[in-house]
Structures are given as C-alpha cells and as structure tokens.
Symmetry: C2
Subunit: 92 residues, 2 copies
Amino acid sequence: MKSKYQVKIFVTLRPSVLDPAGTAVESGLQQLGYSTVEQVRIGKYIELNITAPNERIARENLDRICDTMLANPVIENYRFDMREVETQTGIV
Amino acid sequence: MKSKYQVKIFVTLRPSVLDPAGTAVESGLQQLGYSTVEQVRIGKYIELNITAPNERIARENLDRICDTMLANPVIENYRFDMREVETQTGIV
C-alpha cells in the first residue's frame, strides 16, 4: 500500500542572514507610500506530491530532499506541511 | 488605535503557466533517486509586518501591495494569512 501526500515546503533565510531582496522590496514599498510595512523577508514556497509507504518515510525523504536540493542548510531553514491525498492499494 | 499584523504571503504560478524551475527540480530529484516526487511547482513565500487601523484596511493594503509589487497578476496567484501580533493604543 502506498499513499500520496501533497506537500507544501517553506524555505526561509535564517534570521541572522541578511536578505537584500527583502530590503529592496521594503524600500520599494515605502517609496510607493506603504510606510507601515516592515521586516520583509523573501523565501521560497514549493509545492510537490510525493508517494511513500507511510508518513514517516515520506517525511524522511522530504528532509533529505530539502537538505540536498531545495534549501541551503547553511543559510536557510525549511519546514513543510503535508497531507495525504490518496491511498493506492494493491501489489506494488 | 493601530494594530500590527504578521503576514505570510504565498505567490504561486497560475496552474496554466509552465514552471521551468519546478520541472528542473523535479528532474534533478529523479536523477538523485527520488522517483516518487512529482508536480513540483516553485513559488515565493514572503513574510512581513504591516500596521493598520484594522484588519480590513490591512487586507486592502496587502491586496494592492501584492498586485503591484509582489506578484505578477498575469501569471501568478497569491494568497496570504495574517494574524494580529500587537495593538498600539494612544494618539496616532
């Protein structure tokens, strides 16, 4: 039996790392008149589907995927939400 | 009285728009052996704080900010979650 999970991954810069893109957006917004906006930080948002025998294995795979490809663990944090969307029964 | 809201904005490509970066990540993951990953879509995740007299005005401002600076409405959708973190009382 295998389950398909829909995953939403959020990759953010660590708080100690400067975010020049966020600073640029913030100053752009202030020039447009939105002076009440502050602490803009820009990250990545990734959606994907993963198939795995169970949730634990799906989470282990996702941790490896995030560490190796989606996030740079030196400067970025990640977290993900997952929900099961489908269960496939039968011989795998 | 003004309130400060912590906002999380998710900008995603519209479903009909091709996502070459997502396709590249997907094929990279498959080459690394993660053949169970599919439908990778890459978007932006933005965190910011905004101060406004009430939630309705904060939402109106955020809609304008997303439409003009954070998302390209021709090819991207956005949504945001907000929560109040602080209320400032006194003469503004």
